[in-house]
């Protein structure tokens, strides 16, 4: 519905930016504003914009149907800088999806406004395809941020690789100022990374590409060599190399803030390569404050190459069972450790290992223990040694084994005392 706005549309030679600014503020000084009902049509454009930014998209869309002025405000570029495309099929997800008509409208009217874009797709191939279709059409886009996020199974991996690559390349070539790129669990490959680098090497700051099996160590090395502004990087261990670390620590390179590495076992008994201590040392020298986050998903007997030397890891997660021996090595070799999370361990008490970690990991402030065992006395000792620096202490109730000194009922008092706040272990329902 388009209502004619009789009082508006007077020419204003002031600083307006073209056809979208037709609903300008027009004050008629002779009228007594106290008598008139508020005229929403007179709401200044910039205030309208400000208000619209707080509305969820659907409400904004409803508002845009009110009058031409509001409709024009709805289409102001500022409101279309950020967009998250949600692509879900009813057969594979409970979530709603961005309406196809809206997607068409965005591509038609706003693709050149888009700067921060993400795609959330469910586990169906159709959703991933739809994402690629949209990507291929973003020819006029100069994106700063792009995120491809699978909310369930990684459906991008099920697309024909070339289809995905060509869609992604459209963005790489046209954007030229990509600063943040999240492409985990996608079939991105070395050549497409070269295209990325060729066009965006000056601006790229963040790259998350865990579980991209088609990339080789050489491919990622190319990125590190050329993108000197890279501050955050996430990848799988098989892509990590001494050369990569050295490239990230080269003089031209900015300080790295955060490196996330996933170590995942494809087949049992897999052999992993080692990284030299000197490479890690170079990283620490170059970026003394950087965080090294490592997530391990290995069988117990695959830890051979790890934690033999000092490693500057700050956040450590063991997603499967990890042996007592390896935890002992962690205590010895991870002086920068800030957070340790252990999903499971064999059923032998980790008393000594915990005490050693308390001694040698002076920055430890968060610990989580799942299916493990620790005697109550050792645990109290551990907490005493760490003291108030432990801001996160998440211990499953079954972990704590009562001994002659402490029963389960007493232990939380002791621990709370040393922590300086009320603390209880995590519980699970028993019914």
């Amino acid at each position: 519905m388009k209502r004619r706005l009789s009082r508006e549309r007077e020419d204003s030679p002031s600083s307006c930016e073209g056809p979208t600014d037709s609903c300008k503020r027009v004050r008629q000084p002779t009228e007594d504003s106290g008598d008139l009902p508020p005229d929403w049509a007179r709401l200044p454009q910039e205030i309208l914009l400000h208000i619209f930014q707080f509305l969820p998209l659907l409400d904004r869309a409803f508002a845009s149907q009110v009058c031409r002025g509001w409709n024009e405000a709805f289409h102001m570029p500022e409101l279309w800088r950020c967009f998250e495309f949600e692509l879900n099929q009813p057969a594979s997800s409970y979530l709603k999806a961005t309406h196809p008509d809206l997607i068409k409208q965005i591509i038609k009217r706003h693709s050149n406004h888009l700067q921060y874009v993400s795609f959330k797709v469910d586990s169906s191939t159709e959703s991933a395809e739809a994402a690629c279709d949209i990507l291929s059409q973003l020819v006029n886009c100069s994106l700063k941020t792009l995120g491809l996020i699978s909310t369930a199974r990684p459906s991008f991996m099920e697309l024909p690789k070339s289809h995905f690559i060509s869609a992604l390349t459209v963005v790489f070539v046209n954007s030229k100022s990509l600063s943040s790129l999240k492409i985990d669990d996608t079939p991105v490959d070395d050549p497409s990374l070269k295209v990325l680098v060729a066009n965006n090497s000056d601006t790229l700051k963040l790259l998350k590409m865990s579980s991209c099996p088609h990339v080789s160590p050489a491919g990622i090395l190319c990125v590190a060599d050329q993108c000197h502004g890279l501050r955050e990087l996430a990848l799988n261990y098989h892509l990590l190399s001494d050369e990569l670390l050295l490239a990230l620590s080269s003089e031209k390179h900015v300080h790295l803030e955060h490196l996330r590495i996933d170590v995942v076992s494809e087949n049992p008994g897999q052999q992993f390569h080692t990284i030299k201590k000197s490479s890690w040392d170079a990283m620490v020298r170059h970026s003394p404050k950087f965080n090294l986050v490592m997530y391990f998903f290995l069988y117990e007997d695959e830890f051979g190459p790890f934690f033999r030397d000092e490693i500057p890891v700050t956040h450590l997660y063991f997603g499967r069972s990890v042996s007592k021996e390896v935890l002992g090595r962690v205590g010895m070799n991870c002086p920068r450790l800030v957070e340790l999370v252990v999903c499971a361990n064999g059923l032998r008490p980790l008393d000594e290992e915990l005490i050693r970690i308390a001694e040698r990991c002076q920055h430890l402030s968060a610990i989580g223990l799942g299916e493990c065992e620790v005697s109550c006395s050792a645990f109290v000792e551990f907490v005493k040694m760490c003291g108030r620096r432990l801001s996160q202490l998440s211990i499953m109730e079954e972990v704590l084994i009562p001994d002659h000194k402490y029963s389960l009922d007493e232990i939380h008092w002791e621990v709370s005392k040393h922590l300086g706040r009320v603390w209880f272990p995590d519980m699970m329902p028993t019914w």
Partner: protein, 593 residues
């Protein structure tokens, strides 16, 4: 004034500790005990054959006990709203009694019946005996909202009066004063139906493990207490391989159907503890099993959407996958992971699995491996599990899938390792998956890793005689921990690197309890939260009002990475229609037992 009473059994299938039934007998000239059942809907209700059998056995048991008191059980076919008007007229009913049902569906149904009874001039008497405490009282004491952490719940319970003492069982003298007119064709009209009548084909095998009924419940209680006394140990027992098998002293199904009064159990435990330990008062941990039950009843009583994700104010909205094929494999024990399959097989065959087994399969279905919604798992348990009821089942599934109650999601139960650590002998697997019985211990939890020679020797080839593993656990758990982290970080607006800090802490645990009450100072008061504490952890979204969403959406456009602020979905219909399989309004089955 002649009093003709009707006592309506729903749960509470017992004659001991039954104040509502006592009330029916009080000064009454006639008393009839009814159970209302609609065989027409028996097939479509989400209730499996084991649960029906348990119920029917419990009803038979009631009937037998009532016979000894010169009465009978009247099993009336139909729906309460149709049945009662008929019975009120036919029997000249003046008083209707029943046990209080705290679940939202139950409250609604009962409100309608009470109103109808009023219209017929029938007085109603309702007594709260399915739970130890009155859920509304707990909610009131917690600033009018149900406690969302177990510790908080325990702290509140610690300050309550002890549960009311149980009443003795109905006696001959009591019944003698009231008559029950039994007609000749009672069995035809009001007899307990058989499984066949409900539409189930039984194959004549009556070797089932859990026998329903009050008699069995009380016998088991005695055995349970005997065993505790013998062990002289009230600590939570460490799980052994033996614990996985159905125990002759297990009580959970009997508590669920009310064949055993929870107060009787409570006070028996209490007395035994006092006798053996000569202590002043038992710690709350003694009643762990009972208190978890109370916790979930309380959490659900005012929340009709407690068993859904959508529209449930306490449930985190997680983008679960929709995959009926994968769900079926899990439900039918065909995942290719012997540990999971054995558990689901035991569940289907017998109707009970150990609580750690429940954790294992729930984790596998949801946040651990398959990334399927907890609602689907809940429905399978509802069908198969004898002790599942609406509140406890939904609540537990939300807890185990880290969808509510502020649980850390980092600990994942490995479908190979956890099983192996629990039962290194593999006997549990061999019992429930006979095909694998000749596998050596080394490979029985991961038969796909066994060399071909071993598989041949065991006469069970993976991929032919037994399924291949349906997923790669390492890869799935890697993906899923990322998903969980994404969801939680979006909710808590946490942008840091800590995995543990992604989950917000809840104010209620850090805050002191209501000021005036002084804590019991005995050494067993360890469970109560101390009055002197200050919130230490950052609590990002400080919304403590009861039914509002605990996390407020970030609608600011200045988020560093585009959040979903522009498209908040809750309660806003738009876009393509919702899938039709799972309806979003509270599904009202036509038959709940």
């Amino acid at each position: 004034m002649v009093v003709n009473s009707v006592h309506w059994f729903r749960k509470g299938l017992r004659l001991h500790d039954n104040p509502a039934l006592q009330e029916a007998l009080n000064g009454a000239e006639t008393v009839r005990c009814v159970y209302i059942l609609d065989p027409w809907f028996a097939g479509s209700a989400n209730v499996g054959v084991n649960r029906w059998r348990f119920l029917l056995e419990s009803l038979e048991d009631l009937d037998t006990s009532l016979r000894k008191l010169n009465s009978r059980l009247f099993v009336v076919r139909g729906q309460p709203t149709d049945v009662f008007p008929r019975l009120f007229k036919e029997w000249n009913v003046t008083r209707l009694t029943f046990e209080y049902d705290s679940e939202p569906y139950g409250k609604e149904r009962d409100a309608a019946i009470i109103k109808m009874a009023q219209e017929y001039g029938v007085e109603t008497a309702v007594r709260n005996t399915h739970t130890l405490y009155n859920p509304d009282r707990i909610i009131e004491m917690n600033n009018h909202s149900p406690p969302l952490t177990f510790k908080r719940f325990q702290a509140i319970v610690n300050r309550l009066e002890l549960p009311r003492k149980p009443l003795p069982t109905i006696s001959q003298e009591q019944m003698a004063r009231c008559q029950t007119k039994i007609s000749e064709n009672h069995d035809e009209r009001y007899g307990v139906p058989s499984l066949e009548e409900l539409g189930f084909k039984t194959h004549g095998d009556s070797s089932h493990v859990w026998k329903g009924g009050e008699t069995e419940a009380l016998e088991r209680l005695n055995k349970h207490l005997d065993r505790k006394a013998w062990v002289a140990n009230f600590e939570r027992p460490r799980i052994t391989a033996q614990s996985l098998f159905a125990s002759p002293t297990g009580l959970s199904p009997y508590l669920r159907f009310g064949c055993l009064s929870c107060r009787v159990f409570y006070y028996n435990l209490w007395e035994l503890y006092m006798k053996l330990r000569r202590s002043s008062s038992p710690p709350l941990s003694l009643f762990g099993q009972l208190l978890w039950r109370e916790f979930f009843y309380t959490a659900g009583t005012n929340n009709p959407n407690f068993d859904h994700m959508e529209g449930n104010p306490i449930c985190v909205q997680i983008p679960w996958d929709h995959n009926p094929e994968a769900l079926a494999k899990w439900a039918e024990g065909r995942t290719g992971f012997p540990w999971i399959d054995a558990i689901m097989t035991q569940l289907r065959q017998e109707g009970w699995i150990h609580h750690l087994a429940r954790h294992a399969v729930a984790c596998f279905l949801t946040r651990g491996d398959l990334w399927i919604s907890w609602e689907s798992g809940m429905k399978v348990f509802e069908e198969l599990l004898l002790d599942a009821d609406w509140s406890v089942n939904a609540g537990s599934w939300m807890w185990l899938s880290c969808s509510a109650f502020f649980q850390q999601f980092f600990h994942c139960y490995c479908p190979v390792g956890f099983g192996r650590r629990t039962d290194p002998s593999g006997d549990y697997i061999r019992r429930y998956i006979p095909k694998l019985k000749d596998y050596p211990n080394r490979y029985i939890y991961e038969p796909w890793n066994a060399p071909e020679s071993v598989q041949k020797a065991a006469n069970c080839i993976v991929g032919v005689d037994y399924p291949k593993p349906m997923i790669n656990h390492a890869e799935s758990s890697r993906l899923n921990i990322e998903r969980m982290k994404q969801v939680y970080q979006q909710l808590s607006h946490y942008r840091g690197l800590s995995l543990l800090a992604s989950v917000p802490t809840i104010q209620e645990e850090a805050e002191p309890p209501m000021s005036d009450d002084s804590q019991a100072s005995s050494s067993t008061a360890g469970q109560a939260s101390t009055p002197t504490s200050s919130p230490h952890q950052p609590t990002p979204a400080p919304s403590t009002s009861p039914n509002s969403e605990p996390f407020t959406p970030n609608s600011s456009p200045t988020a560093a990475f585009p959040g979903a602020h522009s498209q908040r979905k809750r309660g806003r219909p738009s876009g393509p229609p919702k899938p039709t399989e799972f309806k979003s309004q509270a599904h009202q089955p036509s038959q709940r037992i």
